[in-house]
Structures are given as C-alpha cells and as structure tokens.
C-alpha cells in the first residue's frame, strides 16, 4: 500500500470514529427517539432545547476560538467556513423557509432528521431502511425539480 492510500484510509477511519462518537450521544441522549421529537414540538420538556442550545453554544464558542487563533487543520490547511448564500429568487430567502418547512414536517412525522435515521438503523429499528430509501427518493426528486424551485 502506498503512503497516500494509507493516509486516505486513516482519514476515513477518523471520520468513522467521529461518527461513532456522535451515534453514541444520539442514542444515549434519546434525541433519536420519535417520542422525544414529539415532546419537543409540544413544548413539554426542556430536554431537546437544552441539547440543541448547549450544542450551539459550544460550537459557536469553538468557531470563535478557531477563527481568532487561526488554528490550522491536522494536515496544515487553513480552516474555512463558507457563508450560507442568499438565493436569487424574488421571494426572500425562499429556499430556507420553504425547504425548511417541508423538512420540519418530515422531521415531525418520521421523528428523525438525517443523523438519527442512521443511528436508528444502527440501533436495530430496521423499518428505517424504508425511511432512508424514502429520504433518498426525496433527495433525488429535489435534484430533478431543482431548476424549477425558488431558491
């Protein structure tokens, strides 16, 4: 195996491990649960808000530290965070609130956003195979309709 290939595999393994770290948190904090998502949308517990809120707080602080210290990635590249682009539709921010609303409806129905779909599969909720295929079909359909949707 060449050195380059080895580096590639090491990098992929690192991403698998970071994913696994997330998978454990997803399950043990119960954010993968349909019940928890219902509890959130019914405003009956602080649990989900606390998790998302404190995750955002830690992430915001980390990004500020990374930006201000100018830290580089392990391989020495500068860290870049590209801004979210405003679309070109006459309807302001069309893709964000329209796409966002569709996504939110799906989130409340399925009780899982994309990360938890994979976590539920790993946790043995096998019918989520169908949920994942449906999500792929949704992604594919968006790709077909993309040029006709406001962005």
């Amino acid at each position: 195996m060449t050195t380059e290939k080895t580096t590639e595999w090491t990098a992929l393994l690192a991403f698998v491990l970071m994913g696994a770290y997330l998978g454990v948190i997803f399950v043990q904090s119960e954010v993968v649960s349909w019940f928890r998502i219902q509890e959130m949308f019914r405003f009956q517990s602080f649990h989900m808000y606390g998790i998302i809120g404190s995750a955002v707080a830690v992430a915001t602080l980390s990004i500020q530290i990374l930006k201000r210290t100018g830290l580089k990635t392990l391989s020495g590249e500068p860290i870049e965070l590209s801004p979210k682009e405003w679309g070109d539709s006459r309807i302001p921010a069309a893709r964000y609130w329209m796409g966002g609303t569709i996504f939110g409806m799906g989130w409340a129905l399925l009780g899982a956003c994309p990360g938890p779909i994979f976590a539920l599969l790993g946790a043995g909720v096998s019918v989520l195979v169908v949920g994942l295929l449906a999500a792929l079909l949704g992604t594919w359909s968006y790709s077909v309709l993309r040029s006709r949707l406001p962005h």
Partner: protein, 191 residues
C-alpha cells in the same frame, strides 16, 4: 459502573458533547458538520447510469463526499455499540407525563423503546398512519433538507454557530413545519 452511562443522558452533558463535534471535524479534517449531504452523495454514488441522473447528482462524490459517507456509517456503528453495551433506551418512558398523555389520546399505547410500535414496523407500512410517518415523512426529510441546503446539523448547529441568518430562517421553517404536523396533521392521521 455502566449505570452512570445509561440513558437518558441529561441535556447539559449530551449537548456540549454534541457541540464539540463541530471543532473536532474542522480540526481533524477541515470539514463542516453536516449530515444530510450524505443523502445526496448516496444518490450520486448509486449505480444508476449517468444519463438518468440530474446534473445536481453528477459530480465527483468520492472527492467531496467519501468522508461524509464514512461519518454516517460511523453514526450507525456508534448507535449499534450503544444499544449493544447499554441496551435500547426506553425513551417513551422518560418523556414528560404530559406528552405521554397527549400521545395516549392519539392512540399510542406502547411507550417502550425509541419509536412507537403502532407506527414503526414492517407490518405497519401498509397502514395509512405507518405509511405517512415513515414513507412520506422520510421523503419530506430528504426533499426539504436539500432544498433548504441543510438539516438540523448543517443549519441548526453549524449554521447558527457560524452566525448565518439563512440558517436561522431555515430553523424557523423547521419549527413551522413541525408544529403544523404535530398539531394539524397528526391528530387527523392518528385520530
């Protein structure tokens, strides 16, 4: 000793640990935390001939997406590890009594495990409620996430943490859609 690790982890433990994935991904791989792109990469990587794929799905997914596919594979692996070592959490038991009462009024009776068996099961896919929840719900998650350019991870966590107004608008959309389903559609669907 394992008892300390059993679910549910309180929000002030789980949330900060979750947030740390953002700097971790940036430092280790220069990657921005986002999960729904993996769905696009899977479509792009599908064995369908290129002529069938819309242009949005024709790109070098190995170069831009392999890390993301490894990452979501890891998520499944981590979940498998968690339930193998610590058991499947009974989330239905740990939610608030008010939610249990509301859901019971909609006909949910089994509060064990992570998802209600009344809706999630191979034999439920052909029932109207089971079909809408899993198939229509899954479709909308995939469609909406790509249209909005991100999901809970890319917008609610990465986007807002990077102070992006479009992400805040997307998250408001997530909530509008979620409330619409919770208080509008579910009572009809399950009632």
């Amino acid at each position: 000793m394992l008892e300390v690790l059993s679910a549910p982890w309180p929000w002030y433990v789980a949330g900060p640990l979750l947030g740390l994935i953002v700097p971790l991904l940036l430092l280790v791989g220069g990657k921005v935390f986002g999960i729904s792109s993996s769905l696009r990469h899977m479509c792009a990587a599908s064995p369908a001939p290129d002529s069938w794929k819309p242009s949005f799905l024709r790109y070098d997914w190995k170069a831009s997406g392999l890390w993301n596919l490894a990452f979501v594979f890891g998520i499944a692996l981590g979940a498998l590890l968690a339930v193998s070592l610590l058991g499947v959490p009974d989330a239905g038991q740990s939610i608030s009594a008010a939610t249990r009462a509301d859901l019971a009024a909609l006909g949910i009776q089994d509060f064990s495990g992570l998802v209600p068996v009344e809706l999630f099961g191979w034999d439920r896919l052909l029932s109207p409620a089971g079909f809408v929840v899993v198939v229509i719900g899954g479709f909308m998650v995939g469609f909406g996430a790509r249209w909005a350019g991100g999901c809970t991870s890319g917008h609610a966590i990465s986007g807002i943490a990077n102070l992006q107004l479009p992400s805040l608008i997307a998250v408001l959309g997530f909530f509008a859609g979620g409330l619409l389903v919770t208080f509008g559609l579910l009572p009809i669907l399950l009632g």
